[in-house]
């Protein structure tokens, strides 16, 4: 009987330890998107669209920086190009490739407009962003700050 009680206690303590470790791991942690992803939210939020996320890494695998930043005239600044859909359909900026010939066309709205609504224009994961507190809304708010 004593042995049984001891076993029960051991089981209980194991359950406690498991719960403690589970809560430690299940706490909301700010997930980090890919370094150099650019969120562009000049006009999207106001127009009721999700902000645009430009993945640098995906384009960098296929093109050198020069193609967009010298030939197509993209400024080295997040949100600094004042891109809108009219310009893209006109073949400027993203529209130079996203025209259904080099890359998929503009009817795939959600492929670019895929950000969490309300996320401001910024370089994601930049050194400066890592040094200061994040200005954008995290995916999950901590339970005590709701």
């Amino acid at each position: 009987m004593a042995l049984n009680a001891q076993r029960r206690n051991l089981g209980r303590s194991a359950v406690f330890a498991m719960m403690a470790s589970l809560t430690a791991f299940a706490l909301p942690q700010v997930a980090h998107a890919e370094y150099a992803d650019v969120v562009i939210n000049n006009y999207a939020d106001a127009a009721g669209m999700r902000p645009v996320i430009f993945p640098h890494w995906f384009h960098r695998v296929r093109f050198r920086c020069k193609v967009c930043h010298a030939d197509l005239g993209f400024q080295f600044k997040a949100g600094g190009n004042k891109i809108n859909m009219a310009k893209i359909i006109d073949g400027q900026f993203c529209g130079a490739c996203h025209n259904g010939e080099i890359a998929w066309s503009v009817e795939n709205c959600g492929m670019c407009h895929s950000g969490i609504p309300g996320t401001p224009t910024h370089f994601h994961g930049s050194t400066v962003q890592r040094l200061i507190a994040p200005t954008y809304k995290a995916l999950e708010k901590p339970a005590d700050k709701k």
């Binding site: 009987m1 004593a2 009680a5 001891q6 029960r8 206690n9 209980r12 303590s13 406690f16 330890a17 403690a20 809560t23 430690a24 700010v30 997930a31 980090h32 998107a33 890919e34 370094y35 150099a36 999700r50 996320i53 993945p55 640098h56 890494w57 995906f58 960098r60 695998v61 296929r62 093109f63 050198r64 920086c65 020069k66 193609v67 930043h69 010298a70 030939d71 197509l72 080295f76 997040a78 490739c97 080099i102 795939n108 709205c109 959600g110 492929m111 407009h113 895929s114 950000g115 969490i116 609504p117 370089f123 994961g125 930049s126 050194t127 400066v128 890592r130 954008y136 995290a138 995916l139």
Partner: protein
């Protein structure tokens, strides 16, 4: 041997036998009555349970507060878009986007930024990004020229390699808007870089980040043997000199 001596031996033997049997019964058969008493008392059992539970709770509290390296932030890199924290998982098309890990398979690795060594990727021909928007055969104009910039403080001097940069960029990307192509014409400091000027136009945002791990990528030339740290010209009247 006399009869008396025999009797003495016998008594000694008998006492020894008695002692041995007593000892063996004590040792080989543990005190059963005590065990029965202990196990039958249920009160004692519950007290034991209460103590051990509170002890476990206490230990769990302490260990979660004092986890190892709790301030050393380590984030899993290259998560698929729906889990990365900026893509909206409620957007259907988010799930159609390529996860970075799939694209980075087989590329040389690094320990910062994208976790990909982009320069090595091109050098090893693991990647063949286009130099022209439509023509895949156009080759970049590569300029192999290193610029050494002496650093005032004790950090190793900076070597700027044109080769790695011209693999990716055209001259007009940097010259003359960001860097005046003339010796001594450019004031560069780490604060300017962190504020997004000079090298910081790209580094720290898209090309490799500014971290402890990456200092040596630029500050790569050891000081000359006769180098001495400059003496401060600050005075009591002008401490910020």
């Amino acid at each position: 041997m006399s009869y008396k001596a025999h009797a003495r031996w016998l008594t000694a033997l008998v006492t020894m036998l008695i002692a041995v049997t007593a000892w063996s019964s004590e040792v080989l058969q543990p005190a059963q009555p005590a065990a029965v008493e202990w196990s039958s008392s249920t009160d004692q059992g519950s007290v034991f349970a209460a103590i051990s539970e509170s002890e476990v709770m206490h230990l769990a509290d302490v260990s979660s507060a004092n986890t190892f390296n709790q301030n050393l932030k380590k984030h899993e890199a290259n998560l698929p878009p729906p889990e990365d924290g900026i893509h909206d998982p409620n957007n259907e098309a988010t799930f159609a986007l390529q996860p970075p890990k799939v694209a980075f398979k087989g590329l040389p690795e690094s320990t910062f930024g994208n976790q990909v060594d982009w320069v090595k990727s091109i050098d090893q021909k693991a990647l063949a990004p286009r130099w022209d928007r439509v023509n895949p055969d156009e080759e970049p104009f590569v300029l192999d020229m290193d610029i050494v910039r002496p650093v005032k403080a004790s950090m190793p001097d900076v070597v700027f390699p044109h080769r790695q940069h011209t693999e990716w960029l055209a001259c007009s990307n940097c010259h003359p808007a960001i860097f005046i192509p003339q010796k001594g014409a450019n004031q560069i400091s780490m604060s300017a870089i962190l504020l997004g000027e000079k090298c910081g136009v790209c580094h720290g945002k898209v090309s490799f980040p500014i971290e402890t791990k990456t200092c040596k990528k630029c500050h790569s030339k050891p000081k000359p043997d006769d180098w001495k740290p400059p003496l401060s010209s600050a005075t009591v009247n002008n401490p910020w000199k």
